[in-house]
Homo-oligomer: 436 residues x 2
C-alpha cells in the first residue's frame, strides 16, 4: 500500500457512518419501496434537468479553459438528450427484478431446525469514476435498487455536474421511503484517496476509468475491488476455421469499438490456414484502418511492422492488432496462458474437438466459439444492467449485473436446539433438502 494514502478525516468517517446507517435502514425496505425510490429519483432528475445541463455547461467551459483533451470533453458532456437517456436508464433499473430476498438454499438440518440462505444487500459501495457525470445516476440507481448505500467520487472536471445530479437524486429520495443520506459525493482528491481506507464502512469499491486508475485502486485498498486492469483478448483462428467467418468475427472483435476492454488485441493464426486466411485478412484490416504488427512468420504474409515482446502484453484500445502464427492449438493455449488477462478469448473453428479443448482449457472469464469477443457485456448477456466486468478469479467474474451488489446470509431457525445433543450422538442431522 502506497504511503501517500491519507487516513480518513473525522468528517469523512462521520459521513461514511451516516451512509452506512441509512443503508442499513434501506436494506429493510421491500421491493416496491426501492422501486418507487428510483422513480422518485428519475422524476427529480427530470424536474432539475435545466439546472443539471447548465452545471455541465459550466464544467465544459472550465474544461475548455483548461484545455482538456477532446476525448475527455466528449465523456464530460451531458446535454438534454444524453440526460434524458440516463433518466430512462434509472427507470429501467427500477424495472429489473428484485435481487434481494432470494432463497438460494433451504435445508432441514433436523426436525424443527431449518437453514436457509437468502440474498441480502452488500451494504455500502464506493464508486470512483473519471469524467463521465452520467455514471452518478447509473450507479446510484443500481445501488439503491439492490438495497445499498453509495459513496461516489467523480472526476474534478465533472464536479459541478456531479453535484447538481446528486442534489436532484437526494431531492427525489425525500419523496421516498429511502433516506437521502444513502448517497454521498466526495469532492476532494484527499477524500477519494481516504475512501480506500474505509474498510468496515465500505464493502466494495467499483472503479470506472482507465486501467491505471483501476490498478492504482487495486494496489492501495484492502476493500474488495470489482473491476479489471487489463483486457487483453485473443482470437485464435484454428486450422479448421471457416476463413470467411473467422475474418468477419476478427474484424468485429477488433473494430466494432476498439477502445472497449473486450476488443481483440492479438490474433493467433494456425499456420496451416495462414495461406488462405492471412492475405485477405491483411487487406481487410488495412481497409478498416487497422495497423497490424506481426511475428516473423506472420510478416512473411505481408505484414510490414514487426511485433515486439511488448506487443503481446499490450492492450492497444485502438485500431492496432498484433498477429502471431502458431503451429497448433496447444501453442495458442500456451500463448493465451502467458500473455492473456483472463478476460475474454475466442476460437474460430469447425472442429468440435478443437472447440471443446479450447473452451475447457482457457481459464478466462469468457471463452467463446465462432463469435465476437465484443459480446462480453452485461447487457448483451441479458443481465439488464452492468455493474462492471471482473477479471479476478473468484466470483463475481466476467460481466457483473445487479448480483455483484448483493451477498447472502444464513438464517437458522430452531426451537432450543443445541450442538452438544449432536456431538453426544443423542440426535442426528437429517440434512434434508427443502424446496427453495
Amino acid at each position: 500500500m502506497s504511503p501517500s494514502i491519507p487516513d480518513p478525516s473525522p468528517e469523512l468517517l462521520r459521513r461514511a457512518a451516516a451512509v452506512r446507517r441509512a443503508a442499513t435502514a434501506l436494506s429493510q425496505l421491500n421491493d416496491d419501496a426501492r422501486r418507487q425510490a428510483l422513480h422518485a429519483m428519475a422524476d427529480a432528475l427530470e424536474a432539475e434537468a435545466d439546472r443539471i445541463v447548465a452545471a455541465n455547461q459550466e464544467d465544459l467551459e472550465a474544461a475548455a479553459t483548461d484545455g482538456l483533451a477532446p476525448a475527455l470533453v466528449a465523456r464530460l458532456k451531458l446535454d438534454a438528450a444524453k440526460l434524458a437517456g440516463a433518466i430512462a436508464g434509472v427507470r429501467q433499473v427500477a424495472d429489473l427484478s428484485d435481487p434481494i430476498g432470494r432463497r438460494q438454499l433451504h435445508t432441514e438440518l433436523d426436525q424443527g431446525l431449518v437453514l436457509e440462505r437468502v440474498s441480502v444487500p452488500l451494504g455500502v459501495v464506493g464508486v470512483i469514476f473519471e469524467a463521465r457525470p452520467d455514471a452518478v445516476m447509473q450507479i446510484a440507481a443500481l445501488a439503491i435498487r439492490s438495497g445499498n448505500g453509495a459513496i461516489l467520487k467523480g472526476g474534478r472536471e465533472a464536479s459541478r455536474s456531479c453535484q447538481a445530479i446528486l442534489n436532484a437524486l437526494q431531492q427525489g429520495l425525500v419523496n421516498s421511503a429511502v433516506s437521502p443520506d444513502v448517497l454521498d459525493l466526495l469532492t476532494t482528491r484527499q477524500e477519494s484517496l481516504a475512501l480506500l481506507k474505509l474498510d468496515g464502512l465500505v464493502d466494495l469499491i467499483i472503479p470506472r476509468g482507465s486501467n491505471a486508475l483501476v490498478r492504482f485502486i487495486q494496489d492501495n485498498t484492502r476493500i474488495p475491488v470489482l473491476g479489471h486492469a487489463d483486457g487483453i483478448c485473443h482470437l485464435y483462428v484454428d486450422a479448421a476455421a471457416d476463413p470467411a467467418q473467422a475474418l468477419r468475427v476478427a474484424l468485429d472483435s477488433k473494430t466494432q469499438y476498439p477502445a472497449a476492454c473486450n476488443a481483440m488485441e492479438t490474433l493467433l493464426v494456425h499456420e496451416a490456414i495462414a495461406p488462405t486466411f492471412l492475405p485477405q485478412a491483411i487487406d481487410t484490416f488495412a481497409a478498416a484502418g487497422v495497423e497490424l504488427r506481426g511475428d516473423p512468420a506472420a510478416c512473411r504474409f505481408g505484414i510490414t511492422l514487426e511485433a515486439t515482446e511488448d506487443d503481446w502484453r499490450t492492450e492497444y484500445s485502438d485500431l492496432v492488432l498484433s498477429v502471431k502464427l502458431v503451429p497448433d492449438l496447444e501453442a495458442a493455449l500456451e500463448h493465451i496462458r502467458q500473455y492473456g488477462s483472463r478476460h475474454t478469448d475466442a476460437i474460430c473453428t469447425t472442429d468440435p474437438v478443437a472447440a471443446d479443448r479450447f473452451l475447457a482449457a482457457v481459464d478466462s472469464a469468457g471463452v467463446y466459439l465462432n463469435c465476437s469477443t465484443r459480446f462480453a457485456d452485461g447487457f448483451r448477456y441479458g443481465f439488464g444492467a452492468e455493474v462492471g466486468i471482473s477479471t479476478q478469479t473468484l466470483p463475481p467474474r466476467g460481466p457483473v449485473g445487479l448480483e455483484g451488489l448483493v451477498t447472502y446470509r444464513y438464517r437458522l431457525r430452531g426451537d432450543g436446539h443445541i450442538a452438544s445433543d449432536y456431538s453426544s450422538g443423542m440426535r442426528h442431522f437429517l440434512h434434508h433438502p427443502l424446496p427453495l
Copy 2:
C-alpha cells in the same frame, strides 16, 4: 503491506509455476479421475502410516525439548488412530458430489448464440496453517477433489510430519491421473511470507490458525483470503424468550467448545426478562466454570466482575462471558452493529415480530433464532466438508464447503455472430432462458 515481506525467490516462482501447470492439467480431468486420485492418496497414506507416525513422534520429541505449550502439542500429535480418522476423511471428500462442471446459467442470446455459465476450479490455493499436520491431508483432498493445486505451509513444529504426509500423498498421486506436482510444501518462513506475493500464481489463500495469523495475512497480501480474524458472537435473550430454553441455548453457545470461533462471547439480556432469567443463568454458568463479566445493570443481579469497554470487543476463546442488559431489541441490534464481527449472532424469543426484526436487521454471516451459535459449521450445515468460515461481506460468506474452491466461467457458442449486427439494429437479442 508490511515492508518485511520478501519477494518470491526464482526457485519459489519456478515451483509455484509447476503447481499451476499441474493444476491446469488437473482441471481438465473428469469426476472419476479426481475421485480415484483421492482414493489413491488414501491408500498411500495407509501404506505409509508407520513412517508418518514415526515422523510425528520426532516432531513431538523436538517439541518437548523446545518446551512447546501443551495446547500446541495436543494439536501437533498425530497417532495411528488420529491418522486413520484423517484418512477416512480423505475418502469422505472423494465421495462428495462433483463441484465442477455445474451449469449455473443457460441463455439463448439469439438464434444459434448460446451462453452458459459453468463451475470451474479456482486454480491454485495457498494454505498456511499452524501446528496441526492433519490439515495437510484435509486440504490436499479438498483441493484435488475440486480440481485445484495446493501450496501448503505448515508450522515449523510439524515440519517432519507434514513432509512425511506430503511424500505419501505424492506417492499416491503417482498411481493416478493427477500429477504429484499439484501439491507442494513450503518449509521456510521466508517462503511462506513470499507466498503472500504470488499474485497471479495463487488464487486464494486459506489461513488456518490464530486470529493474529489471519489478520497478518489479510494485511499483507493482495490475493483474496478466505477466513476470519474475529468471531465475536452474540446471543440476545429477548423479553419474550422462554427462559429455560434461552439458558440451555446460552450454555451450549458458550461452553460446548469455547475455543471455537462460533462460541458466544457476549450475552445481551432484555432488562424485562433479567429478573427471571439472570439469577439462574449466573448460577448455571458458575457451575459450568464460566467467568462472567457484567455491565453495571447486570452486576446488580449478582455478577461480581465488571466488564470494561474492551470486553465487548474481545473474543475470549475461553470460559469467559460478558453480559449486558439492554432496554429493548433495538439496543441489542445497535450493540451487535457496534461490536460484532459479523460472524454468527442469535436471538432467543417466542415473539415472531422480534424474531423477524432480528433475522432481517443483523448483518452477520449467520443469524439464528432459538438455537446455539455453535451450529455455524460446514458439516452441521450439510456441506460435507468445510474449507473455512468467512466473515467478509462478499460471497463466499459463512461456513464454506467445496464451493469456496470453485469459480465459474462463461462459455458462448455462436456461428459467426458479431456485435455490430446488434448495435446496427439488424439483429435483436432474444435472451431466452434455456433449461439448466
